[in-house]
């Protein structure tokens, strides 16, 4: 070590000493461990190697077939996207002002108009059919014996003309001719074609309760249902003969149509009145616009509607109802 002449800033100069075994530290590419080679091979498969790194790796692969295969295996490690879809995509779509206006006002209005047109065109026809068919449809193919109830013989009561009406008279139970519909007339005619056992009560030695409508319509006969009972029958009493049901006319046809449509859609008998329609509209408006309106009905002790109450943030009133049916 020598001291320079410049004493103001003395510096150390390195000597020429050499490490005796320095050459033993040199490494060749073939001496790479597997872990080191794997990292290089992964980079090579990614296309991230260049220059001397690439040359060294290629030399190793050229020298060893095993390492060449090992490096080649990295080329196959690629993830392929699966076909998962984002479930919330639809809710993230933003509507433009025009689309929002269209969806909130124009489309519901068009649907309402279309519904009204359908009701006007088909409403009266559907109601007429419903009135004639009187509800449940019974066909020969769907009629089963189980639908005909035959009770076991019971003690025959004293013959009282006031309570025991002969079948012929039952069949001729007064029904206003002006209300007689085709379906009802058909049932009336069928009643006259009852089996002899029923038409001639003197020969019947039992008291049987049958489902009269099925008999009247000719779908079943007493002997076919309970042949063992017939000989013991002393008399027959046909009750519960229900004429074809006529739709009550206390509601207007629009509400009847809505009730019919609601019944058809839900599969249950729906009795819809004006209050239910108005309440449904208010609920829909609340859901659509986030408003908070309420419509309540006020009934008397007997349950009859006497008034309706409307409440909102801007307006509240109570309106007496003059009639219970709209």
């Amino acid at each position: 070590m020598a001291i320079t002449e410049d004493m103001d800033s003395p510096r150390l100069t390195p000597p020429d000493d050499r490490m005796p075994s320095g050459s033993s530290l040199f490494r060749s590419p073939a001496e790479l461990t597997d872990e080191q080679f794997d990292l290089l091979a992964a980079a090579w498969a990614e296309g991230a190697l260049s220059g001397e790194s690439l040359e060294e790796l290629e030399s190793v692969m050229a020298a060893s077939a095993e390492r060449r295969d090992r490096a080649g295996s990295f080329c196959n490690i690629r993830l392929v996207p699966c076909d998962e879809s984002w479930p919330g995509m639809r809710s993230a779509i933003r509507l433009s002002p025009v689309q929002r206006r269209l969806r909130r006002s124009v489309i519901p209005a068009l649907l309402a108009v279309a519904a009204m047109v359908v009701m006007i065109i088909y409403g009266p026809t559907v109601l007429k059919l419903k009135t004639i068919n009187s509800g449940k449809t019974v066909t020969r193919s769907t009629m089963t014996v189980a639908e005909i109830q035959v009770l076991p013989p019971i003690v025959a009561p004293e013959k009282n003309p006031a309570t025991h009406t002969p079948p012929a008279q039952v069949a001729q139970t007064p029904v206003a001719e002006e209300n007689a519909l085709p379906g009802l007339l058909a049932e009336k005619n069928a009643m006259q074609n009852l089996p002899a056992e029923i038409q001639n009560p003197d020969e019947i030695t039992g008291f049987v309760r049958v489902q009269p409508l099925a008999l009247a319509r000719g779908y079943a006969s007493v002997p076919s249902v309970a042949p063992e009972i017939i000989p013991a029958i002393t008399s027959i009493n046909i009750i519960d003969i229900q004429p074809a049901q006529i739709l009550q006319e206390e509601k207007n046809w629009i509400i009847r149509t809505i009730s019919f449509l609601a019944s058809a859609v839900t599969g249950k008998e729906k009795n819809i009145d004006g209050y239910i329609i108005a309440n449904g509209c208010i609920t829909g408006i609340n859901n659509a616009f986030g408003w908070d309106m309420e419509l309540d009905r006020i009934s008397n002790k007997s349950g009859d509607l006497v008034a309706v109450t409307f409440r909102s943030s801007l307006l509240s009133f109570t309106k007496p109802v003059n009639k219970t049916n709209p």
């Binding site: 992964a42 990614e46 991230a48 990295f74 993830l79």
Partner: protein, 161 residues
């Protein structure tokens, strides 16, 4: 960015971001929430972002949100803690892609994310670094180490001999 471009971004990149987050976090509901939050943030600053940069912005925001969720759940695996021995063999499968995805679940979150961004979206190392906040060298290291781990998993599961 216009509303129309926003909706295009939803349609075009929504599934991509969702897949990336879902594969990273392995939770359908949280992935959905994260992507919803991401697009909500995008909508809040819709006028400030150019459409050309929206994909990178979406992945960056979703990734950061995912890291927050993972940290909150204390499920983040420290990168330094990861060792190759964490991989172990389980039931085999003949579908290579399926096995790779199963192996991916065993990687640390950061490794998983960079590999997904690389393979699913084809991002460059620099772009992945911008999304994840890592340097380019770190991204390379994580990807290479992740690949080696995936390969070792395949060998251990006898998919590759």
């Amino acid at each position: 960015m216009t509303v129309k471009e926003f909706n295009n971004a939803v349609r075009e990149f929504g599934d991509h971001v969702y897949r990336f987050i879902l594969r990273s976090i392995k939770d359908i509901h949280r992935a959905d929430d994260i992507v919803q939050d991401t697009y909500e943030k995008l909508w809040n600053c819709v006028t400030e972002i150019e459409y050309g940069a929206v994909k990178s912005w979406l992945f960056t925001t979703a990734y950061n949100r995912m890291i927050d969720v993972i940290r909150k759940d204390s499920r983040l695996v420290d990168v330094d803690y990861y060792e190759d021995s964490t991989l172990y063999a389980d039931e085999g499968s003949s579908d290579l892609n399926e096995v790779l995805h199963r192996a991916l679940e065993k990687l640390p979150a950061v490794h998983r994310s960079v590999i997904l961004l690389r393979d699913y979206e084809g991002y460059s190392y620099r772009e992945i670094g911008e999304i994840t906040g890592l340097s380019e060298a770190q991204v390379k290291t994580y990807i290479f180490r992740g690949r080696v781990a995936l390969r070792n998993y395949l060998v251990k599961t006898s998919v590759w001999q």
